[in-house]
Amino acid sequence: MSAGTAKIAVRVAEVVDVNELVKRFKFVRRDGGEMPTFSGGAHTVVEMRDGATTRLNPYSLMSDPGDRSAFTISVRRDDEGRGGSLFMHNKVKPGDEMVISYPVNLFSLDLRARKHLMFAGGIGITPFLAQIKQLSHAGGNFELHYSVRTAALGSYVDELTTAHPDRVHIYYDDKKQAIDLATLLDGQPLGTHIYVCGPKGMIDWVRNTALDHGWPETAVHYEEFLAPQSGKPFEVELAKSGKTITVGEHQSLLEAIEAAGVDAPYLCRGGACGQCETDVIAHEGKFIHNDHWLTEDQRTGCNKIMPCVSRFEGRRLVLDR
């Protein structure tokens, strides 16, 4: 068992349509007890039992970290995805019994910061909702720049602008509004930390601009969960467990390992945390690395793979698992 895989048996207390694409789910413990504490930026891994398929998808906790009565997540529907968000949207109803993981935080606030400068794009707003609640209790200094497609698709815009009119800035794509990043980064007080969560392009843009302006990497935090990509089925030999498994078209390598009854470590299931890093013993073929954990050297060395999001195409792959 790896850290973060301890489970909580929950009941779905509430399902709310936030807008056309986003639904909010509230989970309470089935035994009536309190939820574990967490810090803003943490996520939980939700187990989805969909017939013969089990999916484990990470979602940022958006509720108040100080509120132990329930955990709340928001799920954006992805019609092109592997089906996790569609399952949540179409099948999960209030009263359903589900299992979620203890919270794990890979995107925590650096509380030494003098100021927290946040950039969110679309559904990337969710970790900031919890962080802002956490900071508000302590009178923390933050500023949020939140980019949404349209007013109708701007999840939690009203809630944020009402609670923090001076700290929250909204940008609407359909009105051709864009964050003026270069100007914003100029003139931030010493000790400001940057946080960004959103599409990959936005994360790269914020990180690269900050580095160009002389911000140290330690002051720039980001979170990007990658959904595992579908691909051609492939066969894998698991050397330690002596099993040969087939990874299905819409299955991740990690899911296939788990389905074979082999206990493999994981935390984020999104290519970010490094927990599931696995040694490659032999291979004939090419790796499709989708993570942002392995270094360029490790990729060209072909001796590591992140099974949560990465795949393989070729004749033979042997893993040390």
Partner: protein
Amino acid sequence: MTKFNFPPSIASRPIWGTLEPRKGKAHLMIADAEGAEALIDLANAAPALLTMAHLIYLPKDTGKRYSDALAALKPASIYVGPSYDAAESRIQRVLSDAHMGLQIYLAGTEGLMGRAMSAALAAGLPLAAIQTEHRGSVARRMQCVHCKGITEDVTTDPFVCAHCGLNLFVRDHFSRRIGAYQGVCVDAEDPGEVPPQKELYS
């Protein structure tokens, strides 16, 4: 030769680096004595960087040896002063006006680097925006753990605290917040039993 290879020590002891040019919106360089050589090397590697820099230099016992060479690097502004204390209000002013995107380059003695680093961290700058390079004297800035007084430019072990007069053993335990090493009474249990004094690293 103004470079010195410090022997390996405990994790608390700072490991000084080699200055390299970095991207930034503002560049503050503070050096004392032979630390000037590190800035001259940096300027040779990246001449344009110096023209954007605010340079504060404390020649200490090197007199005029380096100050003309530093001025010839054409920094955006240069201050040459007699001591850190004399330069402190200027350093504080630069830090209080500074924004993220500031890069700091420190070069010279451990005392100078420790003190300037402590001021920059207190102003909120992340450690990762501060580069260091040791040059010149291996003298240390020491804090007496008993009276908390600071003794600058300590070159022997043990030494006598300039404030309370205790005989202090020179430890490698460093405080980033204070920018000094820790000095601990060497003859607390047997007053007067002081080991023979020797030069640091001798």
